[in-house]
């Protein structure tokens, strides 16, 4: 009796299931998925970014989104882009590839952003490209905050546009600088044990730089304890000039620890880990930083004679609550200004395809604070290609070696390193692009 009731119930359940399945197929697919251009309404454009706001790599980089929003708000207050206000959805990935994938998924599938702007981190973004596959989805992936050379492959990453010169370019130019300024010195290198570091090694190899000692660290492992290990290796090898090619928290740990252990060397900081205010914030005494050499493709954030810097400092006071104006803020605002130009170039009814095409055709003419040229063209998705070198003074300002910015440019291959004669476009009136 009981058995029969049970089997009746099972049959009823199966029948319901089958009927339900049939009902679902009967509903037209459109009912679930009304497709318009993602992220664009008559009054708004929604963009997204994933970046470390918490975790070991966060200090410094966590200032970038607020700086971008500050500039976007300034543009929004002045009519937006073709009447549309720009919104930026910010997600914290804690510099972990797993979280970067999850958060980019949220941006694309839940927030339905028009484009991803300024995503940070080489390993993170490689994972995102594989899994979320922005290229296959046709989602523009603009102005990455990484210089990994792999992203230059426009066939593999058709919608991805880098902003920074590649790490290979940086290492090549740095290698040439070492050859010119420190001939015969014993050289040391600290680099991150992932594709960020692999690029650096490739660049130095291309430049023919021979290091007496190379120290690698696992991403996220940087601390005073691990840095003591790096310093002892450098000390044993007798390195006189040390290149620090890592994130800012790693540079900070290396500088602070070597000072504490009484190890003196001429430090050369890569652009990724050379922001003075962040280094101070993570505990590097000003005296340790003084005399160190840094590289940048933007003007020094303390150089108020630069019209772009002066303008962005004004925006920073008015729209960013007067945050300490450093390289991160400058990068954020510069990225935002280029984004506005890209959106304008995509026309009054922007599409994702149109945005990619606009960057390829007009991206090289955009006004930006960068002192190296922008190289965007059909199939060329890498922005800047050059660096200048400076020396940190006692108040942490990066002052160009030799007094004025002399930018050297190169490529990620075997190309020569040449002194640039590029003159960037003037700052648009009131900092509002009219392209």
């Amino acid at each position: 009796m009981f058995e029969r009731r049970r089997s009746k119930r099972t049959i009823f359940a199966l029948a319901t299931l089958a009927a339900g399945a049939l009902a679902v197929t009967a509903i037209p697919a459109q009912a679930f998925n009304v497709h318009t251009t993602d992220g664009v309404t008559p009054t708004t454009i929604k963009l997204g970014i994933t970046i470390p706001l918490t975790g070991s790599a966060a200090p410094g980089y966590n200032k970038i989104p607020a700086a971008m929003i500050a500039y976007f708000n300034y543009v929004n207050d002045n009519g937006g882009v073709n009447g549309r206000k720009i919104q930026l959805v910010v997600k914290d990935d804690a510099y972990l590839p797993t979280l970067a994938v999850a958060k980019t998924n949220e941006l694309i599938l839940k927030d339905k952003v028009f484009a991803v702007i300024g995503a940070l981190g080489t390993a993170n973004h490689i994972a995102v490209s594989k899994s979320v596959n922005l290229g296959r989805r046709g989602v523009p992936d603009l102005f990455l905050n990484t210089g990994f050379s792999g992203f230059a492959d426009a066939k593999k990453y058709p919608t991805t546009f880098s902003l920074f010169p590649s790490y290979i370019m940086e290492a090549k130019i740095m290698g040439q600088y070492l050859k010119d300024k420190f001939p015969g010195k014993k050289l040391g290198l600290i680099y991150q044990a992932d594709d960020f570091g692999t690029d650096a090694l490739a660049g130095f190899k291309q430049a023919g730089t021979n290091f007496a000692v190379k120290v690698s660290y696992a991403s996220g492992s940087q601390s005073a304890q691990t840095a003591a290990g790096w310093v002892s290796k450098l000390k044993t090898a007798g390195a006189e000039v040390v290149v620090m090619f890592g994130v800012t928290t790693a540079s900070g740990a290396a500088l602070a620890t070597s000072a504490a252990l009484g190890y003196k060397a001429q430090w050369i900081l890569g652009s990724v880990g050379g922001d003075a205010t962040t280094l101070k914030a993570v505990g590097v005494p000003a005296v340790v930083l003084t005399g160190a050499i840094g590289a940048s493709f933007l003007p020094a954030p303390t150089d108020t004679s630069d019209p772009y810097v002066a303008f962005f400092q004004g925006i920073n006071t008015k729209y960013n609550g007067g945050a300490v104006f450093d390289n991160n803020v400058l990068v954020g605002m510069n990225t935002a200004m280029m984004t506005v130009q890209a959106l304008r170039a995509a026309g009054s009814n922007p599409t994702q395809k149109g945005l990619v095409a606009a960057l390829e055709s007009k991206g090289s003419t955009f006004a930006s604070a960068g002192l190296a040229p922008l190289n965007y063209a059909k199939g060329v998705h890498v922005g800047y290609n050059g660096y200048w070198f400076g020396s940190y003074n006692s108040s942490g300002e990066l002052k160009p070696v030799g007094g004025d910015y002399s930018v050297y440019t190169t490529d990620s291959g075997a190309g020569a390193i040449v002194k640039s004669t590029y003159v960037r476009p003037a700052l648009p009136a009131n900092g509002l692009p009219t392209n």
């Binding site: 910010v90 594989k130 596959n133 696992a218």
Partner: protein, 331 residues
């Protein structure tokens, strides 16, 4: 005789039900938003992980807080077999199962001698320590991880067939097969042995059940399933990295199993849906409260823990047991 017939009709029903459920899921995946499809893939991954805990804790009575680490073993085995042996994707899943089961067999032999908090502690240590080993050995790829690529969906499925739907199909099929196999395994004499063991090991031993061997077997099977779940999880993010297997993952799947009702196989879907829904709920909550990113990133862990405590206090046998009870009392 009647018992035998009853048994075979149960299997027959299962044989009809599982393909039907599969068909329903397949049809559904064509109709919903891609976000839901992706979440569906995650639900399927958690179903497999939760079943591995149900087998272990609900049936053989052993506790593991280290299943996240076993998932990592499976995932690394899968990706390494793909990179070094160039195995087809389907075979890498089997490698994941075998590697994790082998690891589980060794661990289980040690674990069989431990009970209660000691076993929990040992497995917890594994969850904390094991995944970070990847940072020590270069060939494991460090924090950047190793790319685990199951490839694009086959072309004959059409251009509109998204990557996430492909993930959902693979993990959904795996979850269905695992549920069906576990359903049969637990109905067999192994399942009965484990239940006897869980209720009273001494009595079970007197009945002629080899306690140690049964425990190790349960641990091995459970580990194999965890390994598969790990490989599937890695598939959904196309990456194997230590941060994909944090300590909190082990707690999450135990919470999922408790919510499922640790003895109820069909409850696994409840637990899995809750686990996938938690970040969604906390996200909405954080937006509502206007909290900072720090709040948002810690809220899911908090909610998972609260749910675990509430579930253990209010319905230790799972919400389904409560429904059963109210149904019985109303009859």
């Amino acid at each position: 005789m009647r018992n035998f017939l009853g048994h075979s009709s149960r299997r027959l029903k299962a044989a009809i039900a599982f393909p039907l459920i599969g068909l329903a899921l397949f049809l559904l995946s064509n109709r919903v938003d891609e976000l839901r499809v992706y979440q569906g893939a995650n639900v399927a991954v958690f179903v497999v992980a939760i079943i591995s805990i149900i087998l272990l804790t609900g049936y053989s009575g052993q506790i593991s807080l280290g299943h996240g680490a076993l998932m990592a073993v499976g995932a690394y085995a899968a990706v390494l077999s793909q990179i070094y042996w160039h195995l087809p994707v389907i075979l890498t899943f089997f490698v994941a199962v075998l590697a994790a089961a082998g690891f589980g067999a060794i661990l289980g032999s040690a674990a069989g001698r431990l009970t209660g908090p000691y076993l929990a502690g040992t497995t917890l240590a594994l969850a904390v320590g094991l995944p970070s080993l990847a940072n020590q050995f270069g060939f494991l790829g460090g924090e950047q991880g190793l790319n685990y690529d199951v490839g694009l969906p086959p072309a004959w499925l059409g251009a509109d067939f998204t990557q996430y739907k492909w993930f959902f199909w693979i993990s959904g099929l795996a979850a269905l097969i695992i549920t069906w196999l576990s359903f049969n395994l637990l109905g067999s004499h192994y399942g009965r042995n484990w239940r006897a063991l869980r209720s009273n090991p001494t009595a079970a031993a007197l009945m002629g059940i080899h306690v140690g061997r049964s425990k190790v077997l349960a641990f091995t099977v459970s580990s194999g399933l965890a390994g598969l779940a790990g490989a599937l999880l890695a598939m959904t993010i196309s990456l194997v990295t230590p941060s994909a297997f944090p300590t909190s993952l082990s707690f999450s799947i135990v919470t999922g199993a408790v919510l499922a009702g640790v003895t109820l196989l069909t409850g696994s879907i409840v637990g899995a849906v809750v686990l996938v829904a938690i970040p969604e709920i906390t996200g909405a909550l954080a937006t509502h409260l206007g909290g900072s990113e720090k709040v948002t990133s810690n809220l899911p862990g908090l909610l998972t823990s609260v749910l675990l405590i509430v579930a253990v206090l209010l319905f230790p046998n799972g919400p389904q047991a409560i429904m059963k009870r109210t149904r019985k009392s109303s009859q």
